[in-house]
């Protein structure tokens, strides 16, 4: 659809250009001169992109030196792959733990991803336009508040001392002693997955609602004529209709396995759950900015980015072969 409009525009442009060239000689060189003006106008923005997105990549060289803050790079010792070796030997235990946490949390996130689909399908079945609108506005709200606020809200409700949930449960005598939701290593992974769902469920479902809206209405009419009930219609029409969207998002999630993000785990981190919430993004921060081990931290970040990009391209290649269409 978009591509077609584009082509039409290009065609129209060509006709215009031809007409101009016929009427005036030298129109082509005017266009060319204008082209360079355009590039000149774009230059400041290109520079900004280069400085803030590409220049940091040069920083990867710090990973190959024994860099200490304060000593310039040219007086630091070149150590080659020393820090990569350290990551897998001396620091191997740490890295294994951090990788495990990252992968488990990502895996749990993927495991609950069908809930987003279910949410969209059920919301689509809901009657009452106004109520539906209210539910949609309300459930997408948590996506737009910062992780600091999410932590604040969960602290008010789940704190061990004076948390709302503990207060209520004790008042109802369902609990004898307050339960430490935020400082319990055994439930930490599950609890963080729930926090993620609370924040993201309503928003994540919107893309599926759009996919449902895009399904051919005639399919539903045909199903009705055939006497299919609600659940059969959902199973045979809605679910297959949104499957492509689900697969694309699933593949993107897989390629993001190592990118759990920093904010969620930084705000919910405490000594009691440290062994479960220390994900790779948090570890990179701790090593780099708390321990000032710049070179090692750089290597970790580099390793993470390279793995992510390789996985993304692999997954994209697989998607291309299966669906005949790439996802990025």
């Amino acid at each position: 659809m978009l591509a077609m409009q584009d082509r039409q525009r290009v065609a129209r442009r060509r006709v215009d250009l031809k007409a101009m060239a016929a009427g005036r000689t030298g129109a082509g060189s005017v266009k060319r001169k204008q082209g360079w003006t355009l590039l000149l106008l774009a230059l400041p923005f290109i520079a900004v992109v280069f400085v803030f997105y590409y220049v940091p990549l040069f920083g990867w060289v710090y990973g190959f030196f024994d860099y200490k803050p304060g000593i310039p790079l040219n007086r630091s010792e070149f150590v080659g792959l020393k820090y990569l070796r350290i990551a897998f030997t001396e620091q191997g235990m740490d890295l294994a733990r951090v990788l495990k946490n990252s992968l488990v949390l990502s895996f749990l996130g993927i495991l609950v991803s069908p809930l987003y689909v279910a949410f969209a399908i059920l919301l689509n079945e809901m009657r009452g336009k106004l109520l539906r609108k209210w539910v949609q506005v309300t459930t997408t709200l948590p996506n737009f508040i910062s992780w600091v606020l999410v932590y604040s809200v969960f602290y008010v409700f789940f704190a061990v001392s004076d948390g709302v949930v503990n207060n209520v449960l004790i008042k109802l005598e369902w609990l004898a002693r307050p339960f430490n939701f935020l400082g319990n290593s055994e439930i930490a992974w599950g609890f963080q997955t729930l926090v993620g769902l609370w924040k993201g469920l309503g928003w994540g479902a919107i893309i599926y609602l759009a996919a449902i809206a895009g399904i051919d209405q005639e399919l539903y009419d045909a199903a009705k004529v055939d006497g299919a009930g609600r659940f059969r219609t959902i199973w045979h029409i809605t679910v297959p209709g949104i499957m492509p969207t689900f697969v694309v998002l699933l593949l993107l999630n897989v390629s993001n396995m190592l990118n759990n993000g920093f904010e969620q785990y930084y705000v919910f981190y405490n000594a009691l759950v440290a062994d479960k919430l220390d994900v790779i993004d948090y570890y990179v921060y701790r090593v780099g900015l708390e321990n000032n081990d710049f070179s090692y931290s750089t290597v970790l970040g580099m390793f993470k980015t390279i793995v992510s990009v390789v996985v993304l391209f692999t997954v994209n290649g697989i998607a291309k072969r299966i669906r005949g269409e790439s996802i990025i």
Binding site: L2, Q5, D6, K31, Q34, G35, W36, L38, L39, L41, F45, I46, V48, V49, V51, F52, Y53, Y54, V55, P56, L57, G59, Y62, L122, M126, R132, V135, V137, T139, L141, P142, F144, I145, S146, V148, L149, S152, V153, Y155, V156, V164, N167, L201, W203, I206, I207, A210, G229, T245, V284, G288, L289, S297, L300, G301, M302, K304, T305, V309, I328
Partner: protein
């Protein structure tokens, strides 16, 4: 017929009940925090669940007169306003230039921008670059790195390409330059997508605090989010101490607990989002829909 109807009623009842419950889970926490922050602390310890008890705004009055909080409120507001204006105009104008077929290396430049969505040098290289640029402990750290956002450029460019070429050509024939065409035609016509980018960026800016944590330790440049986080992360004893110090000069007979203060700051941080969100929701939705269409 009857069993079918009965099933139907049961389904809709359960379905509606589920969604209303989930929606309440999303909104009640904010309501709870609001009513507790304006209630008498004595009542709060007994439990305030449905409406404020012993309504008073002492804690807000005390807090807004507190320098840390008012300074960081202005810092956060400034970064949201300045950052958004700069980002929106830059991304819009840059995208417009990128739609011009006569621009040399157009495709290459566009790809150069799109790739940034997948590039991530990592924390330390980014940190060192910002330091090298002299952005440590600078307000511009909050603004400059996001002047061009790849995702916004994709959205804008896709939108501008849909604008009928004739609209623009009429102006070009009259001799208008690129800047005039952009200001007089492209930008006004693109307002729907501009609104989307504006709300996205303003919310992102308001919610941002990582850059603050990593690179800014000047208290005069502290964002509201980090002020709240610091307060939340302080141990209970320290929080009590701070509260006492903060509220040392209060004249009213009301007692203010650390819990009160936490809730009040939370409310101050949430309020802007809560106030604009219901009206802006459709722009957010439009953003994600357009984002789904690849650039």
């Amino acid at each position: 017929m009857w069993p079918g109807r009965w099933h139907d009623v049961l389904f809709h009842t359960l379905n509606t009940a589920f969604f209303v419950l989930f929606a309440l889970c999303c909104i009640y926490p904010f309501y709870y925090i609001l009513i507790n922050s304006v209630s008498d602390p004595l009542q709060v310890t007994k439990g305030v669940y449905l409406w404020p008890e012993g309504f008073n705004l002492t804690v807000y009055r005390e807090m807004l007169s507190q320098k840390t909080i008012s300074v960081s409120f202005w810092v956060s507001s400034a970064r949201a306003v300045v950052g958004t204006i700069l980002t929106v105009f830059s991304c819009a104008f840059f995208s417009y230039l990128l739609t011009k077929k006569e621009m040399p290396f157009r495709k290459t430049v566009y790809r150069f921008v799109v790739v940034t969505l997948y590039l991530n040098a990592g924390l330390i290289p980014w940190y060192l670059t910002m330091k090298m640029l002299g952005l440590k402990n600078s307000f511009w750290l909050y603004i400059l790195p996001t002047v061009i956002v790849g995702f916004f450029v994709i959205l804008m460019k896709t939108f501008i390409e849909q604008i009928p070429a004739a609209l623009e050509e009429a102006a070009v024939v009259e001799g208008a330059g690129y800047l005039t065409v952009f200001a007089k035609i492209i930008f006004p016509v693109s307002l729907p997508i501009v609104a989307t980018i504006t709300v996205f960026n303003a919310v992102n800016q308001w919610n941002a605090w990582m850059d603050n944590l990593f690179l800014v330790n000047d208290p005069n440049l502290q964002t509201l989010q980090l002020t709240l986080l610091n307060f939340l992360k302080q141990s209970e004893a320290l929080a009590q101490e701070t509260t006492r110090r903060m509220m040392g000069n209060q004249t009213s007979g009301h007692l203010i607990s650390p819990q009160n203060v936490k809730m009040a700051i939370t409310m101050i941080v949430t309020a802007p989002i809560l106030l604009i969100y219901p009206f802006m929701q459709r722009y957010f939705v439009k953003g994600i829909m357009l984002g789904a269409v690849k650039g």
